[in-house]
Amino acid sequence: MSTDTGQVDVRGPRFAAWISTAVLVLTLAVSAASTTAAAIILSAQAVVFAVSAWRGPRTSPYGLLFRTFVAPRLGPVTEREPVPPLKFAQLVGLIFAVVGVVGFAAAIPLLGAVATAFALFAAFLNAAFGICLGCQLYPLVARLRRVPAA
């Protein structure tokens, strides 16, 4: 597992959230015509979530796109944010994406649509408003982790 525990430019995760939002909107739009196609698109997004949760935002697929094509066109970094809550947020996204894939693949379109809508809700909240739901949950997780040691 990556030891990416440093800090990243806040604009990177926001960029990734916009792409996730677009992919999730596409998934829901396509699901009206083909749940199989929706499952395939959502699977690809699930892989992105998994890699991001595992390796961190810096070396995630969307993070690499940001570093290669977007960051060089932007001004210097003015604000950074820590990596661990971002990785946890990607893990939460992965859980919803996996449930969505199972729903679409198992011909339970309602399950697929609801799980994808939850992921879309979180991704759009992050992209448009800078509110990372997974990051908000992270203190509770950190607190639960501490309990056995207390």
Binding site: A29, P82, A122, G130, A142
Partner: protein, 133 residues
Amino acid sequence: MTATVAALGIATAIGVVVNRRSGVLRETAAEPEQDTSSLGLSDAGPTVVHFSADWCGPCASVRRVVDQVCADLPGVAHVEIDIDANPVAAKQLSVLSLPTTFVFDAGGRQRYRTAGVPKAADLRTALEPLLTI
């Protein structure tokens, strides 16, 4: 289509409300005696207590704001508590998210609380009357 509209609509509504409330100092209702002896509060003037952690991004912004206000108002003390190092204090003050900031008066009573990054002007406005107590 319904799921897309619902997800984007609810996210927009929540995003607007949360961002509007973030960092707004709220006066704390009078509480029964609270044991604040372990927080390291000043007894000579008000204290800003700010909960943070290594993994909290906006906590650095809170630190900058509080340091700036404390520089302007020398009678104000600043205590930063790492939530990982002092979970007991976080539990005592029901801190569920970071950053969370409190203002205590010289008597150790909690007067204000906010989640998010407070504005320097709001913090100054809240602290100035407490300096005269």
